[in-house]
């Protein structure tokens, strides 16, 4: 039995042991709570969305940059595909240098690559002088392009006073006729009462929707971009329903005056109705594929970007 009658300094050993054990428990508790604080800190750390925002931004910049490059190149080199390809090649190279420098400022790597031949060829039909939309022979009903898989940047600028205000079947219309599938008609007419340009879309003869514009004396209609005078026109978003390939024809082309352009994804279209006083056609790249590579300290993203300016969103 312990010597409890002896030296007073020997007393309280049980409390000593108990106190020591309690101290150890409290230390373990402190370590646990430290982990809890660390967890809270971990939870507040950024989950890395900065990188994904950056890649989306870089990708969007690349697409817009190449779109602008293509539009400019086609305007500047209207006579040959090889000239356009060479210009796109050097343009993408420049874009690559600029993107790389900008991304490097934030510790990221962006690369754009273009291989000669990474594009599809098309034809651009345009009328730049203010005139009726007839062909070179003066026909008011003519086929603009046959069997095209796709069309982009189809824009027209029409004078309201030239449009037909009577029966719709006498108004200017653009018909998209696929080999099999629904036939779409875009009818451009005028309402005398309100002095507005009206754009009506018909699917197999029944009305899908209508948009109108009463501003100014001219109306800009972007068929592939689905806008009328800059405002969104949902009726024009029918390209998803139009199966390739289709013909594009004009009817009552004498009931409209203005300018227009469109680019079709077809390398060769017939010569006959173009040239001279009417519309002209020129080679134009339809789409380009650009390699896109993005890297940051924890994220790698690589893809091919297909760029076709003015293509309808489907």
């Amino acid at each position: 039995m312990a010597d409890v009658t002896g030296d007073p300094s020997d007393r309280g050993q049980l409390f000593l042991v108990g106190g020591l054990s309690l101290a150890v428990i409290l230390v373990v508790l402190a370590v646990t709570l430290n982990s809890a604080i660390y967890t809270e800190n971990l939870a507040t750390r950024g989950s890395g969305t900065a990188d994904t925002d950056a890649v989306e931004q870089a990708r969007s910049n690349a697409v817009h940059g190449v779109e602008g490059l293509m539009e400019h190149t086609i305007e500047a080199n209207p006579s040959s595909y090889t000239d356009q390809q060479a210009a796109v090649d050097s343009g993408v190279s420049e874009l690559h240098t600029l993107s790389r420098r900008y991304a490097a400022q934030n510790g990221r790597l962006v690369e754009l690559t273009y291989g000669l031949g990474d594009d599809t060829r098309g034809v651009r039909v345009l009328q730049t002088t203010d005139a009726t939309f007839e062909d070179d022979d003066g026909n008011d009903s003519w086929t603009v392009a046959t069997d095209v898989p796709a069309v982009r940047q189809f824009r027209m600028d029409v004078e309201r006073s030239s449009l037909n205000d009577g029966v719709l079947s006498d108004s200017f219309n653009i018909t998209f006729t696929p080999t099999s599938g629904p036939v779409y008609e875009v009818v451009v007419g005028r309402t005398i009462l309100t002095d507005e340009t009206t754009v009506s879309v018909y699917r197999d003869g029944s009305l899908v929707g209508r948009c109108s514009d009463g501003t100014g004396s001219q109306t800009t209609i972007d068929v592939t971009g689905a806008t009328v005078a800059g405002s969104y026109c949902p009726a024009l978003t029918f390209f998803g329903d139009l199966p390739p390939t289709y013909n594009i024809t004009y009817e009552n082309a004498d009931d409209v005056r203005g300018t227009y352009e469109l680019t079709v994804e077809k390398a060769i279209i017939l010569d006959a109705p173009y040239g001279g006083g009417g519309p002209t056609k020129q080679p134009a790249l339809y789409s380009t594929t650009v390699g896109f590579y993005f890297e940051s300290n924890r994220f790698v993203y690589e893809t091919e970007l297909r760029v076709a300016p003015g293509e309808p969103d489907v």
Binding site: G18, L29, A43, S47, V55, F299, T303
Partner: protein
């Protein structure tokens, strides 16, 4: 023994020591179980935080991976997860909940399991990873068919 009290000294000491032992033991047991509870709760919270961050990464890879196309496409996200939660090693398992996938993070001692649901359009491949460096990548399997694609989670 020179003692004038009615109770024997030995009994007094036994009672004192007995009560002291009981008190100290009681304190230790209570303290111990309190710390255990705290530990379990902290582990649960930490696993939940780690799981949410990893789930976010998987969803991001799914979203961005679906925008890639071409033969050389890649979407890879790496993350340094903590190696242990409150000094306890853990494993992360991808489980299939029928329509979606979920992450299950678990430790063995104490036995804690946390489940984090994920919303992805692409299938997430079944996998088990340890804490540490983890890589989440989008595997398009060389085909153009998006229903073949998978998001793969693996240790670096």
């Amino acid at each position: 023994m020179c003692d004038r009290r009615g109770v024997s000294t030995a009994l007094g000491y036994v009672l004192n020591l007995g009560i002291a032992t009981l008190v100290v033991t009681g304190l230790l047991v209570a303290g111990g179980s309190y710390v255990e509870d705290e530990r379990e709760q902290t582990i649960r919270t930490e696993l939940s935080v780690i799981g949410q961050q990893l789930a976010g990464d998987v969803e991001t890879v799914d979203r961005l991976g679906r925008t890639t196309n071409g033969s050389d496409n890649r979407t890879v996200l790496t993350r340094e997860m903590p190696r242990a939660a409150v000094n306890v090693g853990y494993t992360v398992t991808v489980v299939d909940t029928g329509s979606d996938s979920a992450l299950e993070l678990s430790t063995t001692d104490p036995d804690v399991t946390v489940r984090i649901e994920m919303a992805t359009e692409t299938d997430v491949a079944d996998a088990t990873v340890q804490g540490g460096a983890v890589r989440v990548s989008y595997d398009s399997k060389g085909t153009d068919d998006p229903s073949d694609d998978e998001v793969v989670v693996q240790n670096e």
